[in-house]
């Protein structure tokens, strides 16, 4: 580690060709007792994993948006909805990052927080036979994310840690409250909305097939649904 710091400092001075460019201003680390940055590793790690999950969902929604934008599919309403969902998922990841920063985390090992290559590899679906199948797919995706968030809550409540690692039970009250109150709330509302859309479109499709999907798409585009 020292070697890396030394070499980067060297690089800094070498590249800019000034004798004494001072890039680093190291500050002595002040540790309180008890620690103010009091999150425990299992909880931090499962949060880091959740950030990846949210970004994977963002990429999956991008693929959905791309599919429904195609000339041979031509469902701009669905595309708009899925592109918006993609950006929302990215915002969820950013919210989790902000939370960890607020709690004094992410001071090191930031680079491994996102694996850019894996983001591309983890897109599971790129084709849908209909708008309805994509909506159902989205609902499943959200249900999976909800399950993951519930797992984060369980780990951060400390019960799982105690069982698995013989650790002292550490309940991260504030994070658990944030996740249940704010995150899960949004998940459940989002899921209800998607489930409603699946239901409405299913009823259209029974009798009216492509016409139903066409009308539904235009409603999505106008924001009527």
């Amino acid at each position: 580690m020292k070697a890396i710091v030394a070499s980067t400092l060297l690089l800094c001075t070498f590249v800019l060709a000034t004798g004494d460019l001072q890039c680093s201003h190291t500050e002595p680390l002040y540790l309180t007792n008890p620690r103010w940055d009091d999150m425990v590793d299992p909880c931090v790690n499962v949060m880091r994993k959740q950030i990846k999950t949210e970004l994977n969902a963002a990429m999956q929604y991008l693929a959905m948006g791309a599919h429904f934008s195609k000339d041979v599919v031509n469902r701009p309403g669905f595309a708009k909805m899925f592109f918006e969902s993609a950006s929302e998922e990215r915002q969820h990841a950013i919210k989790l990052i902000s939370y960890l920063l607020m709690r004094g985390e992410l001071v090191s090992d930031v680079s491994s927080l996102i694996d850019t290559r894996a983001l591309f590899e983890k897109i599971n679906w790129t084709k849908w036979e209909s708008g309805l199948s994509a909506l159902k797919n989205a609902l499943t995706l959200e249900a999976l994310v909800t399950k993951d968030i519930k797992n984060v809550i369980e780990v951060c409540e400390g019960h799982t840690n105690k069982k698995r690692q013989n650790q002292e039970e550490v309940n991260d009250y504030h994070l658990v409250d944030y996740l249940t109150g704010e995150f899960l709330e949004e998940q459940y509302k989002g899921q209800r909305d998607l489930a409603g859309k699946v239901s409405t479109l299913s009823k259209f499709m029974t009798d009216h097939g492509d016409l139903g999907e066409f009308l539904f798409d235009k409603k999505l585009l106008k924001g009527d649904l």
């Binding site: 000339d71 992410l106 290559r117």
Partner: protein
């Protein structure tokens, strides 16, 4: 009349290879009340025209590069947001860059489909050649890194533009070149100039005696940008 229909159908069958979209439906829709089977091959009825195929490959790659850069800037932003770095200005600078790349990625995906293409999510080649990114750097290094990334994106825009401007080869696509000009190149030039200016400022200020204070003030300046 019957003979004409037979002839027309025959005509369509024979000339299907270099047909217009209209012809695909002409033989089928006219002259009979009975339902004819839909033409199987509708390749002339897509949105693609001219020599868009090669250009599209580059445009798709350009979109994927934006996704990767967006994630990388998000990591840089995250690092500066932690309590030890505590540089809200740098955090904002990289976050703004991340947001802009993300939005551009979505716009590019839409444009790929506008031109009859199909988005393919594959990791960009530069991920194989670039040294693994470490985002925990010093301020001036991070700005330098951002400058490099912006230049790479600008050159990629030039490449797309170049593919769309090969007039002598008959591969001329003014729609793409104008899109790249309006949406990317001017904006990129300004960004690059801005970052290069930051390097100049930081280089001179960090060479002086007040490095630490300079960084604090520079960070405050960035916060207001």
């Amino acid at each position: 009349m019957k003979a004409f229909v037979v002839f027309a159908v025959l005509f369509v069958a024979v000339y299907a290879a270099d047909d217009t979209c209209y012809k695909k439906f002409d033989g089928i829709c006219s002259g009979t009340t009975a339902k004819s089977p839909l033409p199987v091959d509708l390749s002339t009825c897509t949105a693609s025209y001219g020599h868009i195929d090669v250009v599209l490959r580059h445009l798709i790659g350009f979109a994927n590069s934006h996704i990767v850069r967006s994630m990388e800037y998000l990591l840089m932003s995250t690092y500066y947001g932690n309590y030890q770095k505590n540089r809200a200005g740098f955090e904002k600078l990289f976050r703004d860059l991340s947001d802009a790349k993300w939005d551009h990625a979505i716009e590019l995906i839409k444009h790929v489909t506008t031109r009859g293409g199909s988005m393919k999510f594959t990791p960009p080649d530069f991920l194989n050649t670039e040294e693994p990114n470490v985002y925990e750097g010093y301020e001036i290094q991070s700005i330098a890194k951002a400058l490099d990334k912006e230049k790479q994106l600008a050159l990629e825009a030039f490449k797309v533009h170049n593919e769309a401007s090969r007039r002598t080869d008959g591969k001329h696509d003014p729609e793409i070149s104008s899109y790249i000009e309006e949406e990317f190149v001017h904006h990129q030039a300004k960004n690059i100039r801005k970052l290069a200016g930051y390097v100049t400022d930081l280089k001179s200020m960090l060479s002086g005696p007040d490095g630490s204070l300079s960084l604090f003030l520079f960070d405050e300046y960035l916060k207001g940008q």
